[in-house]
């Protein structure tokens, strides 16, 4: 019996290690390419770098460390900002993801609270109807939404980018589930003390729902940060692009600027990894389990 367990664990380790390599190596490879110079000089002679080279000839005992047989450099990261309006794209993405997240926190919480705690005619019917809309795929409704934005003169503006996303059924569902899990007694006690509905929402129930707010904020922010389809449809000028749109810029029909493209890809991924690492608990515990209740 002991032995069986032993083999099971060894196999588990092997499986996990192999998949960790599979999972991480694309990022490691992207990083190696992003620090490879485009050209470098040996004795004044310019040399090209073959980023497809195998093995990648890494030498970390030199300074600067070598990749693909050439001295590594961070200049590609700076160059990304020079050759494209990358700072502007970061700003646009922050505005997009930030506003959508803030709006969702407010509107989804409002609605979630009402569906969990308040009684009014048609409540269940409206809620069921809203849940039904979760079945509607975005590509199916994107044409009318785009035309609507055009007729509001909102195409290629922040308003057009943000407005259709300021509330979500998934979000209000998450908030409702959480408000429902808060014991009613707290509410009742506050009611007896003469607290109005808004005060109950603001001072009693919402402070207890902070983990749900955090989860909603993380998922909305990440989803919007990484969103591609809607910015693709609604933005048309370079200075309105988000980061996901901007990535295509490093690829022309003649040449792909791999080093810059990988640097840009890594730049836009790092904030997500930082968020994940600093809020890991929210992700793994609240994230997975509360989504499960859906």
């Amino acid at each position: 019996m002991e032995k069986r367990w032993h083999t099971a664990r060894i196999i588990s380790y092997i499986v996990l290690m192999v998949y960790a390599i599979v999972s991480l190596s694309p990022f490691i490879w992207a990083f190696l390419v992003s620090v490879a110079p485009m050209i470098y000089h040996i004795n004044g002679k310019p040399m090209g770098v073959n980023i497809m080279q195998w093995p990648p000839e890494i030498n970390i005992f030199k300074f600067p460390p070598e990749v693909f047989g050439a001295p590594s450099t961070a200049s590609n990261y700076a160059k990304v900002f020079e050759v494209t309006p990358f700072a502007r794209w970061i700003l646009n993405t922050v505005i997009y993801a930030g506003s959508v997240t803030l709006a969702n926190l407010v509107l989804d919480a409002f609605a979630g609270f009402a569906f969990a705690r308040l009684r009014f005619p048609g409540r269940n019917l409206i809620f069921t109807l809203l849940l039904g809309t979760l079945m509607v795929p975005f590509p199916v409704i994107i044409i009318p939404i785009y035309n609507m934005m055009v007729s509001f003169n909102l195409a290629n503006t922040y308003g057009g980018l943000i407005f259709p996303k300021i509330a979500s059924v998934t979000g209000l569902f998450l908030m409702r589930q959480f408000y429902m899990s808060i014991p009613l007694e707290m509410d009742e006690a506050a009611k007896i003390d003469g607290a109005g509905i808004f005060r109950r929402f603001w001072q009693i129930d919402s402070p207890m729902a902070l983990p749900a707010f955090a989860t909603l904020a993380i998922y909305t922010f990440m989803g919007t940060w990484n969103d591609f389809l809607w910015p693709l449809i609604i933005t048309s000028s370079k200075n309105m692009f988000t980061l996901t749109m901007g990535l295509n810029f490093f690829r022309t029909s003649y040449y792909t600027f791999w080093q810059l493209m990988m640097a840009a890809s890594i730049l836009m991924t790092v904030p997500m990894i930082v968020i994940f690492l600093s809020l890991q608990k929210q992700f793994v515990e609240t994230g997975a389990t509360s989504a499960l209740k859906g």
Binding site: S23, P121, L277
Partner: protein, 384 residues
């Protein structure tokens, strides 16, 4: 009395979110449905809104260089209102509109205004018709697509590319969903073996799922290149180098593999949370009953993970059937498009929003039916 307060508060609290969902999800469904019976064209929707200088347009149409000594009668004989609207102003007309213009457009007034230089200002097509139509100006106030009945749908059923994209979407879903589910389950079971460094494994499996599909696509564009990393690694086990993304028979499987890689880690975390919630006493009891290894896994653990499996399969199906981003970035050949991509191309590259909407409506119905079937299968399984 107090009840009414609660009612009002309730409606007040839900109003913004409900309004947004109604405006941006429910209403568009009906509009899509309407579009699907028309020839709605993205390039034409601005026709009545685009502005022009009427004087310049008339001068060009009538080939007048000098505005002095013009003869109204002479100009009128050269002026064909339908021709002017269609060719000079570039507004597409339907037969009933042509008839109305022939009857109701006040050419005399227009030409007189032109000679008196009153037309020298910027206006839109809609404004032009409001001024110069004696009747029926409302027929020209905005772009109204032509009603086609079922024409878009019959075209769609005969469109081999549409069927190919639908096939691609289904293949994508049918391969990716089960593989990513099983892989995630396998990884979760491995990580649940009281193993050291679970945090590291979780993190490394999770990173692909928090990276944007755009960045991932770019990275895989590099990895899938003919001299790229994937071919080098496969070379060790004797698989010859392939240009994965250019080859129509390997492009879709390559994107599918990438999709599995992206999502398996996230689903693994879901399964792991489920596994950790299984009470130890249940496992121990099954051990006493003599359930071992695989038997225990299939007969005890998997049934206990039913809610997680249902969740992962549902999310997987929804995600894979709609897959768009990766296709947009990585697929070069039309025959490898998925339906979402085909809708996008028709609507936003060709401007055929009517046809694209017909595909969208059909696709929506298709997904609904699949989801219902899947729900039934999952709920039937729970009887075992």
């Amino acid at each position: 009395m107090k009840h009414y307060k609660e009612w009002i508060a309730g409606y007040f609290f839900i109003a913004p979110a409900v309004a947004i969902v109604a405006l941006f999800v429910i209403y568009p469904i009906f509009v899509s449905f309407y579009y699907s019976f028309t020839n709605y064209n993205a390039l034409r929707q601005q026709e009545y809104k685009a502005t022009f200088n009427l004087q310049d347009q008339l001068q060009e149409y009538l080939m007048v260089l000098n505005m002095k000594d013009l003869d109204a009668k002479d100009l009128l004989s050269q002026f064909d209102p339908v021709d002017f609207v269609q060719i000079q102003l570039g507004i597409h007309l339907k037969p009933n509109q042509v008839r109305s213009i022939r009857k109701n457009l006040n050419s005399k007034k227009l030409i007189n205004d032109f000679i008196a230089l009153k037309t020298n200002r910027k206006m839109s097509g809609a404004q032009f018709f409001a001024i110069y139509m004696t009747k029926d100006a409302s027929m020209f106030s905005r772009y109204i697509p032509q009603w086609l009945g079922f024409e878009n749908f019959t075209k769609m059923f005969k469109d081999p590319l549409f069927w190919k994209t639908l096939e691609n979407s289904v293949i994508f879903s049918l391969f990716v969903t089960p593989i990513q589910t099983i892989l995630a389950l396998l990884l979760a079971v491995a990580a649940n073996q009281k193993i050291r460094g679970v945090k590291f494994f979780k993190l490394s499996f999770y990173i692909p799922s928090i990276t944007s599909s755009a960045a991932i696509s770019m990275i895989f564009l590099l990895l899938y290149a003919k001299p790229g990393l994937i071919n080098r690694v496969l070379g060790y086990i004797g698989i010859p180098a392939v240009d994965w993304l250019s080859n129509t028979s390997t492009a879709l499987p390559a994107v599918m593999a990438m999709n599995i890689w992206t999502t398996a880690g996230y689903f693994m975390v879901v399964f792991l949370a489920g596994l950790q919630n299984i009470p130890k006493s249940l496992i121990e009891a099954s051990e006493l009953d003599g359930a071992q290894g695989w038997t225990r896994f299939w007969k005890v653990i998997v049934p206990l993970l039913k809610p997680q499996v249902a969740y992962v399969v549902t999310l997987g199906l929804i995600g894979t059937l709609q897959v768009f981003d990766q296709i947009y970035f990585l697929i070069k050949n039309q025959v490898n498009y998925t339906t979402s991509m085909y809708i996008y191309v028709n609507a936003f590259s060709y401007g055929h929003m009517g046809y694209a909407s017909a595909i969208a409506v059909f696709f929506f119905a298709f997904i609904m039916i699949l989801t219902l079937i899947q729900r039934r299968v999952v709920s039937e399984e729970s009887y075992f």
